[in-house]
Amino acid sequence: MKRALLPLIIFLVVVGFLFVGLNLDPREVPSPLVGKPAPAFSLPRLDNADKMISNKDMLGKVWLFNVWASWCGACRDEHHVLVALSKSGVVPIYGLDYKDTRLDALQWLAERGNPYVATAVDENGRVGIDYGVYGVPETYVIDKAGVIAYKQIGPITEAVLRDKILPLVKRLQIQ
């Protein structure tokens, strides 16, 4: 009897989750990495595999670190926001091309515009693990000392950019 109840119990847990999910208000969850130094990396650049890019190169400035991939549908939603932001020149955006092929990624940028100062290629997802990437896209705001100040899970919308990221970036740039 007990064993036969197991499928029902699992199903009810899923339903409970769905039901709660239907009614919950959106809210933030803090990432354990916020307030800690950004994990170190040194990866080949997307535009030139012979050149390396490291998080140390960005020390001394506030920057956004955007995790993306050409296979990621939700990345398309945020892409125009990133392109507009890069044109405004407020804050440099660096990309992490996560578990992707170089050719697809280059084509993707060629078709949609390239908002990144540079993109690091994380072909096997090793750096993604260090950063605790659970899905693509994710974006980190990193301060002058190389400490993660904020993590955005999912695409950056205009509202998120205006209400959270830009005020934070301005505050960090003054410090």
Partner: protein, 657 residues
């Protein structure tokens, strides 16, 4: 007027479905023959009513009646007639109606081909199918009515989604739904058996052809969808692990497990509870899949926000159907008994292991599919889980399943021995290892994944060849007589398994050896890929019925000898102002040469993607072989011997897919 007739037919169908769902089931419990007898006429009346509703909606599309909201949202006066008809199932409301039509088709089929069943069993089966229909009709009539009027009427329609304006899309959804809904028959059989407490081998034998037929439709439906994605999306991919595909793939995995589990239950009386659970899960996943895709829950969570009643109805329906049947399972399954005992090394164990692997694979796909939904519903943002997750999880689960597939049909029932199996399979093993090492080196390069894929493909080829050889050798009869002495269902199994090998070979070769380039091409430019020269001869502008297109002309030559001309198109559909890619493909057994147009660049140049896809057609051909094997199994003569109720004798060794 016509839409009102359709609407009214749906209301009548709901009443008939209630009668079909309530009285026969109660009658079966009380032994009331009159009440049980209501099931058949109700099933047939319901079919006629739902069909009338469907024809009314199709008529509204054909005559461009834009006073119907659904027609105005999914059609346009310049849409060709065949796509106006296909547009009937191009949106949410209409695809629910298609679902209801197909459910009533299956129900009528059961009502005609179930004369040999005990009357109580038959009444319960039709009753359960009636209850499912009640849920769908109620959903349509309350919150998703396809006949809702638009007053004042629109001047013209908003057009069918251009992605769906393709011959493949005309056939793909009905095939897929035939598969999805077909599992409702196996589900109804399982629920009826649980209600009546008669889980015996007869029940398994009755369920088998229905399950296999549903699986055949689902296989063809998934194949058609994958093929459509290949030439319509212009990325050269044929499987993207997106939510819509996963929704069809999960029932397929569980349905595959169910077919094999039913075979064991029929032949050996084992796995009864497990088989029932799989039957419930296959249909539950079909339901979940339909709703996830069609309610717009996954593509955008906002569907819930704009019409929360829809989301709640869906959830309540899922709870009633799935929760109710799992509760019934928890209550009745422990009394079922365990069936025949079997040793650790036996065909039963191999089939059980394969079943578990398939089920775990389905669960991992389910998890990957729902995870973004959970996060999204919780407001944690939109996320793509994407191919990296699925590739990582899926390959390690499928590799042992494919390996066991080679061993299972050769092992004995009840008790086999490892040394004996090793003796029989040593040649097959040697051949497949040798192929896996040598073939990639001949083709250019070797990686562990290519080696593993080729090993598994040739392992299945070799073990199946061994199986066929053992069956056909050593007899004085003519070869034809020996071929005929094996049942259709056994040959069906052989062909379906070979189909898996063909599929695996295709996937491995195309994944391992495909190549692509993305180039900027002006008229006259030549690109080189895989030994072929692709000459871009410019584009011409053409006008379609409801789109205009730039058609590229690419001439393919090899060593100066002309091979073929392909014409990729970039279309712009006027009404929705949506650009679409039509790939230009030259298919063949050995490889596909594939090109798609990107964006126009300055000076008459275009960005062009060119792909060389070796053996990609084998992927779909393998699926067709699986479906054909399934059809062969259904045509087995023992399913036509309606009077036979005894299980096969103990020493029977056949097993079919």
């Amino acid at each position: 007027m016509i839409p009102e007739i359709g609407h009214f037919a749906l209301i009548l169908a709901l009443i008939v479905a209630l009668i079909q769902g309530v009285f026969p089931i109660i009658g079966a419990t009380r032994g009331n023959v009159v009440w049980m007898g209501l099931a058949q006429p109700a099933a047939r009346a319901q079919f006629l009513l739902v069909a009338v509703a469907f024809i009314c909606l199709a008529y509204a599309f054909a005559t461009m009646d834009y006073s119907v909201t659904y027609v105005a949202s999914n059609s346009n006066s310049r849409l060709p007639l065949q796509y106006r008809i296909a547009a009937v199932w191009g949106g949410h409301e209409g695809s629910l109606l298609l679902w209801a039509v197909i459910l009533s088709v299956w129900t009528v089929a059961v009502s005609f081909f179930s004369k040999h069943l005990p009357s109580a069993m038959r009444a319960r089966i039709l009753g359960v199918m009636g209850l499912i229909s009640v849920g769908f009709l109620l959903f349509m009539l309350s919150v998703s009515n396809p006949f809702e009027r638009l007053i004042p009427a629109a001047m013209d329609g908003r057009d069918l989604n251009p992605l769906l304006q393709d011959p493949g899309m005309v056939f793909h959804p009905p095939m897929l739904y035939m598969g999805y809904v077909g599992f409702s028959v196996a589900f109804a059989f399982a629920i009826a058996a649980l209600l009546g407490g008669e889980l015996d081998s007869a029940w398994a034998r009755w369920s088998r052809p229905w399950t296999t037929l549903a699986w055949v439709f689902l296989t063809i439906g998934i194949m058609a969808g994958s093929n459509w994605a290949y030439y319509e999306l212009g990325w050269g991919g044929w499987w993207f692990w997106d939510a819509v595909e996963n929704a069809s793939f999960m029932p397929w995995l569980v349905g595959t497990a169910l077919m094999h589990s039913l075979a064991v239950t029929e032949k050996r009386g084992s796995f009864k509870a497990w088989t029932v659970l799989l039957a419930i899960c296959a249909f539950s996943l079909s339901l979940l899949g339909t709703f996830l895709v069609r309610s717009g829950v996954l593509t955008s969570v906002h569907a819930f926000a704009t019409d929360p009643r829809r989301g709640l109805f869906i959830l309540a329906f899922l709870v009633l159907v799935i929760g109710g049947s799992l509760l019934l399972f928890a209550w009745r399954a422990p009394t079922v008994g365990r069936g025949g005992k079997f040793g650790v090394v036996s065909r039963e164990s191999f089939l059980l292991a394969n079943n578990v692997l398939l089920a775990v694979a389905a669960i991992s796909v389910l998890f990957g599919t729902l995870y973004p939904l959970f996060l999204d519903a919780l407001g944690l943002g939109k996320i793509s889980v994407g191919p990296p997750y699925f590739d990582t999880v899926f390959a390690p689960l499928m590799a042992p399943a494919l390996f066991l597939m080679g061993v299972g049909p050769i092992a004995r029932w009840k008790q086999a021995t490892l040394p004996e199996l090793a003796m029989r399979l040593r040649w097959a093993f040697g051949i497949s290892v040798a192929t896996a090492v040598i073939l990639p080196l001949l083709l250019g390069h070797w990686t562990p994944m290519i080696g593993l894929g080729l090993f598994l493909a040739f392992w299945i080829f070799a073990t199946t060849a061994n199986l066929v050889y053992q069956r056909l050798r050593g007899s004085d009869q003519s070869l034809m007589a020996r071929i005929k002495s094996n049942s259709y269902s056994w040959w069906g199994m052989v062909i379906a398994h070979l189909g898996i090998a063909v599929f695996t070979l295709g996937v491995t070769v195309v994944k391992g050896f495909e190549s692509e380039i993305a180039v900027r091409m002006s008229p006259g430019d030549v690109a080189h890929l895989a030994g072929f020269d692709f000459t871009f001869e410019g584009v011409t502008e053409i006008e379609g019925p409801n789109y205009s297109a730039s058609r590229g002309h690419i001439r393919i030559t090899k060593n100066g000898i002309e091979r073929t001309l392909i014409n990729p198109e970039k279309r712009l559909y006027h009404v929705q102002n949506m650009p679409m890619t039509e790939a230009g493909i030259s298919p063949s057994v050995i490889h596909d040469l594939y090109a798609s147009l990107g964006e126009p660049l300055d000076g008459g140049a275009w960005s062009v993607r060119i792909y060389h896809k070796p053996m990609v057609e084998w992927v779909w051909f393998g699926c067709l072989m699986m479906a054909f094997g399934g059809l062969l199994a259904i045509s087995d003569r023992r399913y036509r011997l309606k009077s036979r109720t005894k299980p096969l004798p103990e020493n029977a060794t056949e097993i079919s897919t």
